[in-house]
Amino acid sequence: MRRTWIWGVAAWAIGLLFVAPVLWMVLTSLHSESDAATNPPSVGAELTMAGYREFFDSNPWPALINSATAALVSTLLVLALATPAAYALSIRPVEKWTDVMFFFLSTKFLPAVAALLPVYLIAKNLQLLDNVMALVLIYAAMNLPIAVWMMRSFLVELPREMLEAAELDGARLFTLMRRIILPLTAPGLAATALICFIFSWNELMFARVLTSTVAGTSPVFLTGFITSEGLFLAKLCAAAMVVSLPVLIAGFAAQDKLVQGLSLGAVK
């Protein structure tokens, strides 16, 4: 293995190529508007927080809070629904549990856009337009199948003997959940929560159709952020950075959970 270093260099080169747009986004967000829009690029230009200041001056907080609310509440709802469901599909499976699993998965093949109009009309009639709760319900429906598949994959790996012993002691489902299942599947729950949070935080289409001034989320805020007047590249990159930051931090901190989650728990 004399030439192994070549493969290392190749890996580094490809890695740098892929991360370059992200680094460029960070660098541009720290430049002044006039330094950001030059050709050739001014890599060594003076750094400034002006882009971030301008972004936060444009009042992004309601949008950021709406995104956080929609993502967190829908994730909690998903976990509350998916964990017992996964139990009924693995540890004490109902008959035809594979059919149920495929029903959940098949809803992910349903293009979300086909539900856009009826969801809009229903939300309108229920007075839920421009209300974060509408997004909570939709994001929960979008992520529940993923969560059921993931949680099931974690629950089937629990040691059977332990569960049976607890049942012989007369533990009821609720106690079983709280005392044994939840502590043992905590890493799995975390992976599931991470994925649900990321997908909810990122969602644009439903948020754009169902919200306007009050309940708009960060992605919706981003689409309306660019005004045609003057230079905007630095503050656009600053905005993209701030909105992506929660996902970047959570994703980097839990790289392995990311893999488990993205593969619906099939890859451990």
């Binding site: 890695g15 139990y87 992910k108 293009p111 086909a114 429906a141 644009l204 994703g251 993205l262």
Partner: protein, 316 residues
């Protein structure tokens, strides 16, 4: 998929002979019901509504014109060249992005499976594109990378030009000259890390004995990859293709941002969104939605067969 749900609810409704076993069965089903009911209400009911609306002539800007036209909207949709183009674009985008990013993902995963200095750091760098919020990524691609005046790509071309003493380097207007390539490139950039993560996990789950045995038998690097590693990776490649397709076929953000559906890049999600949001043609948008669902069922049935092999392997 509705067939599956009917089957499932049929199983739930079947009366049981002995009372005790019936009660036991319901206690088994109880933890499942909230999730199941929630999903049926949230996904099947809107679809029924779409089905009903698709038979109406309904433009929201013309109140009082809502009337039953049966299959008229479908006839319009089938003869609508814009929808055919959207269908074609959806297939092109999905196939191109999935295949290219699986291929790149496999190469990068193979590189990252070797030991070298800073492997963890390169892996972290590779994941970064996937963690940028899609709409933010699309905006950065459009304005900071591909802008013909001050985008990074043309800036780099200027640098290279200067290096060779060329004072007028080529400065393409990427998005208007090659809109489809621009959409595909930005999506490949975002989805290659996803594929790479799944494939890398597959490589790392590979037992080392067969590889060593192959080496002892005098197999070349290529031969042991082709005949030992690749068969092991098949499940993971299928999984990556399947999951990637689910997400990429629904892509909306990239088309919406980079080209606003113009320049012949509108895909089905964008076309349906536009018929409804800008065109206010509720009936036609619903008919398009139904067609999209039917297409998805066809693809989905095939894809589910792939997944079912995964479940079968598990229960074996």
């Amino acid at each position: 998929m509705t067939a599956v749900s009917q089957q499932a609810s049929g199983a739930l409704a079947r009366p049981s002979a002995a009372r005790v076993t019936a009660r036991k069965k319901w206690s088994l089903r109880a933890p499942l019901l909230p999730a199941l009911i929630f999903m049926v209400v949230m996904t099947q009911l809107p679809f029924v509504a779409t089905l009903v609306i698709s038979t109406l002539s309904w433009n929201s800007l013309q109140p009082g014109t809502r009337e039953f036209v049966f299959l008229e909207n479908y006839k319009t949709m089938f003869t609508d060249s814009a929808l055919r183009e959207a269908l074609f674009n959806t297939m092109i985008f999905t196939a191109a992005v999935v295949l290219i990013s699986v291929f790149l993902g496999l190469i990068i995963a193979l590189l990252l499976d070797r030991k070298f200095l800073g492997r963890g750091l390169v892996r972290t760098m590779m994941i970064a594109p996937f963690l940028v919020v899609p709409i933010a990524a699309a905006l950065v691609w459009k304005h900071a990378l591909l802008n013909p005046g001050y985008g990074l790509l043309n800036g780099v071309l200027t640098w290279i030009g200067k290096l060779f003493g060329d004072s007028t380097p080529i400065q393409p207007d990427w998005i208007s000259e090659m809109p489809k390539v621009a959409v595909i490139a930005s999506l490949v950039w975002q989805w290659t890390p996803f594929m790479m993560l799944i494939l890398l996990a597959g490589l790392q789950s590979q037992p080392s004995e067969p590889l060593e045995a192959a080496k002892v038998d005098g197999a070349s690097d290529w031969q042991s990859f082709r005949y030992v590693t690749l068969p092991h990776m098949r499940t993971y490649i299928e999984l990556a293709i399947l999951l990637g397709s689910i997400y990429i076929v629904q892509n909306f953000d990239a088309v919406f941002t980079l080209t606003s559906g113009g320049l012949g890049t509108a895909n089905l999600p964008y076309a349906v969104y536009n018929t409804f949001f800008a065109g206010h043609e509720y009936g036609q948008a619903s008919a398009a939605g139904v067609l999209v669902v039917i297409g998805s069922i066809v693809i989905g049935t095939f894809a589910l067969r792939v997944v079912s092999t995964l479940l079968r392997e598990e229960t074996r």
